[in-house]
Symmetry: C2
Subunit: 386 residues, 2 copies
Amino acid sequence: MNNFFYQIPTEIYFGKGQIKQLGAAIKKYGHNVLLIYGGGSIKRNGLYQSIQNILEQNAMEAVELSGVEPNPRIETVRKGVALCRQHNVDVILAAGGGSTIDCAKVISAGARYKGDAWDLVVNSNLITDAIPILTVLTLAATGSEMDRFAVISNMDTNDKVGAFSPLFYPRVSILDPEYTFTVPKNQTAAGVADIMSHIFEHYFHQVKGAYIQDRLSEGLLKTCIHYGPVAYDQPDNYEARANLMWASSLAIDGITWRGNEVPPSVHPMEHQLSAYYDITHGAGLAILTPHWMQYVLNDQAVGKFAEYGINVWEIDAKLNPYEIANQAIQKTADFFVSLNLPATLREVGIGDEYFQVMAEKASKGLENAFYPLTAKDISAIYNASL
Amino acid sequence: MNNFFYQIPTEIYFGKGQIKQLGAAIKKYGHNVLLIYGGGSIKRNGLYQSIQNILEQNAMEAVELSGVEPNPRIETVRKGVALCRQHNVDVILAAGGGSTIDCAKVISAGARYKGDAWDLVVNSNLITDAIPILTVLTLAATGSEMDRFAVISNMDTNDKVGAFSPLFYPRVSILDPEYTFTVPKNQTAAGVADIMSHIFEHYFHQVKGAYIQDRLSEGLLKTCIHYGPVAYDQPDNYEARANLMWASSLAIDGITWRGNEVPPSVHPMEHQLSAYYDITHGAGLAILTPHWMQYVLNDQAVGKFAEYGINVWEIDAKLNPYEIANQAIQKTADFFVSLNLPATLREVGIGDEYFQVMAEKASKGLENAFYPLTAKDISAIYNASL
């Protein structure tokens, strides 16, 4: 096991009706609120009105930034920064999924930075101060509600870049599974793929003795496999929504990867897809993941894939390790298909026109991955995913 | 899944050589240090000298409280409180296992409380302020390094009582598995039993849909079962010590029980044993656990025990649930025996002389346990454990 640092300062209020904690929580940090949300689903499910009531009851000043994109853009961040400055915002409330929360994170730091917010995205070291952020989560997927990461897109340059800072941890996150009852089926499925991908990124490591991390990862993967189809078929199944929501947070908070950290592989490859085509992140991950698994399967990796097959998919341990590994990869692909996620890039309108440039960009940093990948390797995986 | 609140503010520095973080960490909180430790093992393994060097390099003032008992006593807490007042202590450093850390916690609050520290133990509501605590862990067992609990004994009244406060979370805990290389075999084994018991206490719940908590609990139990014997046989096996150390923290930090909290059963029963006989806590748990399991096994509980048998002990799922449950309980008992833990109360010098009074005391609060227990039930479990 590698040395690590672990701390999760975020306060989580989990469960039905926890919105009641919001007023007191905001008051601890400020009075001039910037409310950030996405396409307006929070108006349809009643959350927007609940928030308005709480802001009013607590006599708070609020400005709004709405319309945050599924892949949040730097232009939107800049709008938020301007609002913060104009209205002396001292606390930011993000009500939405990971995109909205990621956008809020960079706004929070951008408002306390003299230059352009994009500087902070490309150089996390410049993040030295930030407005406190609180979140109300409406989608189980990215884990942004309990982590220190944010991913922002710059469509002018086709860049999708991840920034990170301890200042990005939300101070408080309200996780009420009922707010995810209205998430459409395709977004529910994409969220499950995203959670599973966060786990895979570190589960396939070569760190000696990171046993505890592997067993916890398997527990979270089983949770996704068990409840993904339930939430897909019964959107208002509380039990399924609750398990997926908590899995989304725990998949990324560190218990699966502190001590066995490796650079992620499939996320950087997918970020290029959504930087060039603006597709749903989780859908891109579902397409690439089985092909990445197949590509990296070799004598060095087969033991780990067999472990995955036995412990997660309950494949007979007596079979040949390659047989177990191949079955496990097939089961992973079948699982995504069972959730009606796309299985090929063509299905989401992606051809091979940018493969070379995307592969070049994605390859940066992948030399230390579980299976080191060059631009050529990544290009091959893109091609296999066509 | 039940509603819950989750936050773990403690900063964890995990791994070899992390003691190098200690100086900077202490400085963040204070200058006048109270160093607390137990029987002197930290002098034998070099930790004491490392701490002295760090205190000296940082020109800190330090006073010491040594000799904290395995079941820390209120008299020792009072001594620590007096030292804090006398020397204007502004930061407490606990170097040891759970006993030392628990003692430090109550001292930290006692020093900021006008009355007697025992008041705080019996009424946690009185804990409103505390001196910051940092820890260097030397025993994988209680999880006190990352939780908000402390258990203190009053041998005059044969009371062993748990107190809790968010102020009890250590600010920083240094978890270097190498400091546990010198832990004697019997303490290593007792620590494993303690970690497993923390998991069992909540794993055996009847909360609907706490699936994720169950899978994470099983992952931690597997870790204990896998590495307990390795650490027992090879005290300096880093991998085993690291996995057990991180398991001790994660077993109690909330991922196994937030959302499915039930009052613990075996811990209150064991606390009576060590309040009357001062035995090793983990040894008492190892004795009682299999008998408690056998006693509560009924038609309502058998499903959960079968799940335990299948998922943790890999017992054939096709067997009759009672057969799986009974095999799982036997395997649990056998596992503790394999670590040379005592299997009967007589082996640790306990007769039936206080069973009635201990059972009466332990029964308080157990009416809401997984299997509600009356004093009569508890007495029966003590008798079965003779």
